[in-house]
Symmetry: C2
Subunit: 379 residues, 2 copies
């Protein structure tokens, strides 16, 4: 740990160690530290589904992500602001990152109309009409009191031809500048820009350069994990990450599987978010040190072993696979509750392992060990 960081100009990332392109460090924020590489738990509508805030904390999660699209529609930004902000609302005093809403407008809302200034849409809940512009998206996140605010961008669909991808990237770049103009800096808070450009190296380079010119507290890589496949995603990281500032955190949005995390950290990514551990937990899929298991499978009906021996979560320390299997077969809420808890614990222990391995400059050895565990035939 070096000297106490100066947060007057925003949140600040401090490196501890590197191992190849991989880095470990800490993002100092107004709401406490985020050790990186970090996995942020998705708390869409002001709750990490099936988890109390205490349970989320117990998994080692430091940062929660909120979705602006969901929160602006229900309960609404004015309501959250009046109730003291998202931290108080959901009992999460730690860092909160909110997305800009743009991604979910395009995937969830109806009657979307995109123009150069923003996007108009109808709520998927009640059909009411809404509009997002860079300034509106930043304003909403300000009302939420988000620790980290994301610029409004357009997540370029995949596949996209070069012209479409360029137009889309340039729109996001312009919105990045407008987002920065609208953003009100506060000590320990931050605004992140988002690199777009699909899988085109020249567009990714232009996007990264443009965002650096504008200047952000952190840089996200968007438009990946949208169907391009892991190989194309990692290639894009290979060429994009070196174009980003060394001293700012890098956030790969919406990623991913445990293997994606290993590969992306190796390429210099510091932050992740993904619904995978929580969504999988609700559908009986468990990430473990010996691979992925579906607890609905009949082979677990009489299995009196711990789901993942060594895991400190209550599902693993207190119960058997047979009990978890029973809960899912009987449609008991405790099944999703315990398996979400487990999966988040698994993800956070994986991140902790990577942070320690980078400190020891042993990330490849660590990754090989993790993969050997997945490959080991247990039964």
């Amino acid at each position: 740990m070096t000297s106490h960081p100066d947060l007057r100009h925003g949140c600040r990332w401090q490196a501890y160690a590197t191992d190849g392109r991989a880095r470990t460090g800490v993002l100092h924020t107004a709401h406490g530290p985020m050790d990186t590489p970090a996995f942020m738990a998705v708390g869409t509508a002001g709750t990490v589904k099936a988890m109390t805030a205490d349970a989320v904390r117990s998994t080692g999660t430091q940062t929660v992500l909120g979705n602006t699209y969901h929160l602006m529609l229900r309960p609404g930004a004015d309501r959250i602001e009046a109730l003291g902000g998202l931290h108080r609302f959901m009992d999460w005093p730690g860092p909160i990152l909110t997305d800009s809403g743009g991604f979910q407008v395009m995937s969830l809302a109806s009657l979307r109309k995109l123009d150069k200034d923003g996007v108009e849409f109808r709520s998927h809940i009640d059909g009411t009409r809404h509009r997002l512009t860079p300034a509106i998206a930043i304003g909403l996140q300000h009302q939420f009191d988000a620790t980290i605010t994301m610029q409004l961008d357009e997540c370029t669909p995949f596949p996209a031809d070069h012209d479409t991808a360029r137009t889309s990237m340039e729109l996001s770049l312009r919105w990045g500048t407008l987002s920065k103009e609208a953003y009100r800096p506060r000590p320990g808070y931050g605004l992140f820009g988002i690199v777009q450009g699909s899988t085109y190296p020249d567009l990714r380079a232009a996007s990264a350069a443009g965002l650096r010119d504008t200047g952000f507290d952190g840089y996200a890589i968007g438009g990946l994990a949208v169907g391009e496949g892991q190989a194309a995603m990692l290639e894009t990281l290979d060429l994009t990450v070196p174009l980003l500032p060394e001293d700012a955190p890098r956030y790969l949005m919406g990623v991913g599987t445990p293997d994606d995390l290993l590969e992306s950290v190796r390429r210099g990514i510091d932050m992740f978010d993904c619904v995978m551990p929580t969504r999988a937990g609700r559908t009986a899929r468990a990430f473990t040190t010996t691979g992925v298991r579906n607890l609905r499978n009949a082979r677990f009906a009489a299995d009196d072993r711990s789901l993942d021996p060594g895991c400190p979560c209550p599902g693993c320390t207190r119960h058997t696979r047979a009990y978890l299997h029973h809960l899912f077969r009987a449609d008991e809420m405790l099944g999703p509750m315990l398996l979400t808890w487990h999966n988040l614990t698994y993800y956070q222990r994986l991140m902790q392992g990577m942070r320690e391995a980078i400190q020891a400059r042993q990330l490849d050895v660590f990754a090989a060990g993790v993969r050997a565990g997945w490959a080991a035939a247990e039964e």
Copy 2:
């Protein structure tokens, strides 16, 4: 506390104090104490719905109830026995009471056929054929390792004419004797008989006398809270409770509202179970010191107060009514989780209050205070 109880002949109830007919004491069992009057949380299928075992413990709950009908069908008694019994299966080392299965056969199963020896039925899950007799019901509960086993009985439907009620009561009485013959006593475990007889004083008296002749570790009062109304229920308690042994615990099955608990404790009841706090919690209804609230109600949308100030549960200490309202509006699992937690906490604090009030011989004063709270117009 008097001397250490001798559990060689079963669980044993020890009185601390009385206040009128109300009593407080402790039921010593092989799995620890149950302070009475006690409210047992319903854990139908091996889980108190929407709660981890730790969360249930944190509410002050000492005893959990399991439903033989559900457990025999899924995951099955052989499975639970092979996995070390229900205590290990559901991580509940404390006392567990199981019902006999008879009540839910009559309410849930299809193609029921009742004869003098037992009942045949088809599973509501997969249509498989099953049979319950007194000996089978006792054997299943033995396999579960239930701390307290209930005799097989027929819960007489309401209304029933005197002849029907007498025939039904006599069947239950005979099954009580057969249940006792099948039961294998173990130190700190117990078998309870069940008084039936609808709302007919002579039948209740005959049932109580017959059960006393057979001799049980505790006496339940069944066939109430089935539509007869609170006044008829309390009248039945008025005449039935004095016919039961002074030194054995008395259990009013399937009851009830907080007001039912106050009135029944006053009449000498020691144990209760009811789905009310847990089921209500899943449907946004909260029991509080100032009455029942439906958190879906729009008037809570901006209410930044604690649901029930002074309540130690996480929903009340960490969140606002507005947040709970939001969770139910957004169909988030955390709503049912937090409200179940709250309602069980409310029920257990009510029981704790009654136990202390009986010690102080102030039960009527306590009850008046509780009712004044419910009646207070808060808003």
